[in-house]
């Protein structure tokens, strides 16, 4: 008989595929390599009425040998601007992926919890301090930035005019900065061009 973690992954894969949420294309799970079920690709769709609405977020899921006694290791592959997710590494700060894990939880509950996190950030338990500060200090700017990232990286539909943002990024591009770096610097410095330039050249 196969080992427990593989048995569970197979069953949970079927559970996600046949779930109501999957039917509505809210979550998805894919096997990358049939011979290695410990590496999976997850997808969650940005929930409505959030800056992430309509974005497609790819997750890297790793199943430890000790699963389900220990939680799966999950991180964002798609770049995202969110207080509980690192804008640099994609690491997620979510209690059920740490000390609040329980063996009866499944990959489906994990994906739904991550989707819920996109809906309701917890800035007091941040993974990305810069984003969390902005979230609390200037919610409007946070939404604008998060939306811009969603449109750029997660393919969220373009509903706003980003002309001003694009102009600032272009300025940095002409200075020889890569686009990713430019966007990170501007986002981090509240889209203040001078502050972003300072941070990049000092």
């Amino acid at each position: 008989m196969a080992s427990l973690h593989i048995t569970r992954v197979k069953r949970e894969f079927r559970e996600v595929v046949s779930s109501e949420e999957a039917q509505k294309s809210q979550i998805k799970i894919e096997i990358i390599d049939e011979s290695d079920l410990t590496k999976l690709k997850g997808t969650v769709i940005g929930p409505p009425d959030t800056p992430f609405e309509g974005g497609t977020y790819i997750l890297d899921i790793r199943i430890p040998d000790t699963y389900p006694f220990n939680p799966p290791k999950v991180k964002f592959v798609t770049k995202i601007w969110h207080p509980n997710i690192s804008s640099v590494t994609g690491a997620i700060c979510l209690d059920i992926l740490k000390d609040q894990w329980a063996a009866a939880m499944t990959l489906r509950t994990v994906l739904l919890s991550i989707q819920a996190l996109l809906q309701a950030a917890e800035p007091d338990d941040p993974q990305d301090a810069v984003v969390a500060k902005q979230y609390k200090g200037d919610p409007e700017l946070y939404r604008k930035t998060a939306k811009h990232w969603a449109q750029t990286y997660a393919g969220a539909p373009k509903t706003t005019d980003d002309a001003e943002i694009s102009a600032k990024i272009d300025t940095l591009l002409q200075m020889g900065i890569t686009e990713t770096k430019a966007r990170e610097a501007l986002s981090t410095h509240s889209w203040n061009l001078e502050a972003a330039v300072d941070s990049l050249f000092t």
Binding site: M1, L4, T7, P68, F69, D99, A102, A104
Partner: protein, 350 residues
């Protein structure tokens, strides 16, 4: 870990699945506080990671002192156990041709005697005495099997004989140590007993040579075992005695009477001979207790030429000598007794 659901005939109720392994419950236990059920092995493993219910995260009280990990767990409710035991499951040897379908509660019984079980232990029918799993019987080779047994036994024998030689080495080391200690006691016989004490104090603490002997009463230095304390007292006393010069070995009184013996005993006692030694020495003052080389007239005459080699100490003021075994090891067992003997003379000692 539970049973694969595919093995059951008919529908299995959702309540009968283990939330941890996702399979049909095997030997279920429930958390007493929240009543959630899991396979016994699954929940025990989980509680090693976190002491909360895997479903609702209800805290599971830590096991009390002395009780097992599972004290917060109890048997699953009877109704659930009944439902499980009535499930009909296919034999796990279905792939080998077993058609048996049994109630879950009878599964183990069936497996023990399932003739399709490829691992069922059977005895070799060619007489080598081996018991092998059935699926290995066709490849089973009696000679190879027995050869392996012999190899294993040779290994055991080798280990044992290695141990024997280690023990022999230890024994001979200890013998050597004993000899050194004896030598030490003897060589200190004529020197100051304080120097012997000093030498002994440099040695590592000695294990008691005999646990049966009573502890030394006279000595203030009671941290030595009795034997060592006796050796010190003996050497102290011997060093006070003067070597005897025997002019006429023919004057030996081999059967002294009790009056003569008590005179010599008195003299020995006055000379400071330790009491325990005095008793022994006086008991050995008669030819019936002498070594074979001295025990009768004939053997005495045969060994006469060797008398001069004895190391003798005079009993002060008396025609008698003490011959200590510790000072006369060169004479051999035939000529001395332990711890020593007294020989009384009619005349010729000075």
């Amino acid at each position: 870990m539970g049973y694969e659901v595919e093995r059951f005939v008919g529908v299995v109720d959702e309540e009968l699945f283990c939330p941890i392994c996702g399979l049909v419950l095997d030997s279920p236990l429930q958390i007493k506080d929240c009543e959630h059920c899991f396979c016994g092995s699954c929940i025990e493993e989980w509680l090693k990671h976190q002491r909360v219910c895997p479903v609702d995260r209800t805290p599971v009280p830590p096991s009390c002192e002395g009780s097992s990990l599972t004290s917060a767990l109890g048997p699953a409710p009877r109704i659930l156990r009944n439902l499980l035991s009535r499930l009909r499951i296919k034999c796990e040897n279905e792939v080998f041709g077993c058609q048996t379908v049994t109630h879950l509660e009878g599964l183990q019984l069936h497996l023990n005697q399932c003739e399709y079980n490829p691992r069922r232990p059977v005895e070799c029918d060619r007489g080598c005495g081996s018991v092998v799993p059935m699926d290995e019987l066709t490849q089973h080779n009696c000679i190879k099997e027995l050869r392996e047994k012999i190899t294993n036994q040779s290994l055991v024998i080798k280990t044992l004989s290695d141990q024997v030689s280690i023990l022999q080495q230890e024994l001979s080391d200890q013998r050597q140590e004993m000899t050194i200690l004896k030598e030490l006691v003897r060589s200190s016989a004529s020197s100051s007993s304080n120097s012997l004490r000093h030498t002994l104090s440099l040695l590592p603490p000695l294990p008691p040579l005999s646990s049966a002997s009573p502890s030394s009463v006279s000595s203030s230095q009671s941290n030595y075992p009795d034997e060592v304390e006796h050796a010190i007292q003996t050497s102290q006393w011997l060093s006070l005695l003067r070597p005897a010069r025997i002019r006429h070995w023919g004057g030996i009184i081999s059967t002294p009477d009790s009056i003569l013996q008590s005179i010599i005993r008195q003299a020995l006692s006055s000379s400071g001979c330790p009491q325990y030694l005095l008793v022994e020495l006086m008991a050995n003052a008669h030819e019936r207790r002498w070594p074979p080389g001295l025990s009768v007239l004939e053997t005495r005459q045969l060994n006469r030429s060797r008398y001069e080699q004895y190391v003798t100490k005079q009993v002060p003021g008396k025609q008698a000598v003490v011959i200590m075994a510790s000072e006369n090891e060169h004479m051999g067992d035939n000529m001395i007794v332990s711890p020593g003997m007294v020989i009384i003379f009619a005349h010729g000692v000075d």
